[in-house]
């Protein structure tokens, strides 16, 4: 069956530009998570959605980062005025409900030049 998919797989942008990263969770999964992973580090929690609402966005580093999930399925992570320090792999995961096993997508590799 289809797993979590993320697009694009790679994104190169220039400092100051706006980017959108998309996550398609497993069908029927109500919980969706965004993480950021830098080289040699574990995934760092950014935000968690239960349905359409962001239940916890405490991991978003600053107000340049924003995420939406308008219909409770696909989610978009939006980064404004990108900085070189935003370069990382952005991972999305979904689970049937909170506290269930999280299934990760392959990630989007973002490089800010």
């Amino acid at each position: 069956g289809a797993g979590v998919s993320q697009t694009p797989s790679n994104k190169v942008t220039e400092k100051g530009k706006y980017v959108e990263l998309r996550c398609d969770p497993i069908s029927g999964h109500t919980a969706l998570y965004w993480y950021r992973q830098s080289l040699g580090q574990g995934p760092e929690f950014l935000i968690y959605f239960q349905g359409t609402g962001a239940a916890d966005d405490s991991g978003l580093p600053n107000d340049r980062f924003f995420a939406v999930r308008p219909e409770g399925s696909v989610s978009t992570l939006k980064i404004q005025r990108t900085e070189r320090g935003d370069s990382a792999v952005y991972l999305c995961a979904s689970s049937l409900n909170q506290r269930e096993t999280q299934y990760f997508g392959p990630g989007t590799r973002l490089l800010v030049l």
């Binding site: 998570y33 574990g42 096993t101």
Partner: protein
Amino acid sequence: SQKIEQNSEALNIQEGKTATLTCNYTNYSPAYLQWYRQDPGRGPVFLLLIRENEKEKRKERLKVTFDTTLKQSLFHITASQPADSATYLCARLNTGGFKTIFGAGTRLFVKA
């Protein structure tokens, strides 16, 4: 703050031996500890979850322990194979059960 600490040095072992990876946590005990496997260029894959009130959990060649006194979890792979070579991540979940805090992972190399 709640942290997960894993040995940053890679672990090199011979095929057939048991690999043991360590995960230490700070602050209060999490409700759950999870172990994931991550291969280069891929997202983590869930392996095992152990609850605070469980001392040991097994799944095929994998075994996880949870010691709340030592604030430590050990992850064992018995009869290791070269295909087990990957990075293994430890993660904690608190009672709310959704905010997952990961360690940096330990790279395992199994030599044939």
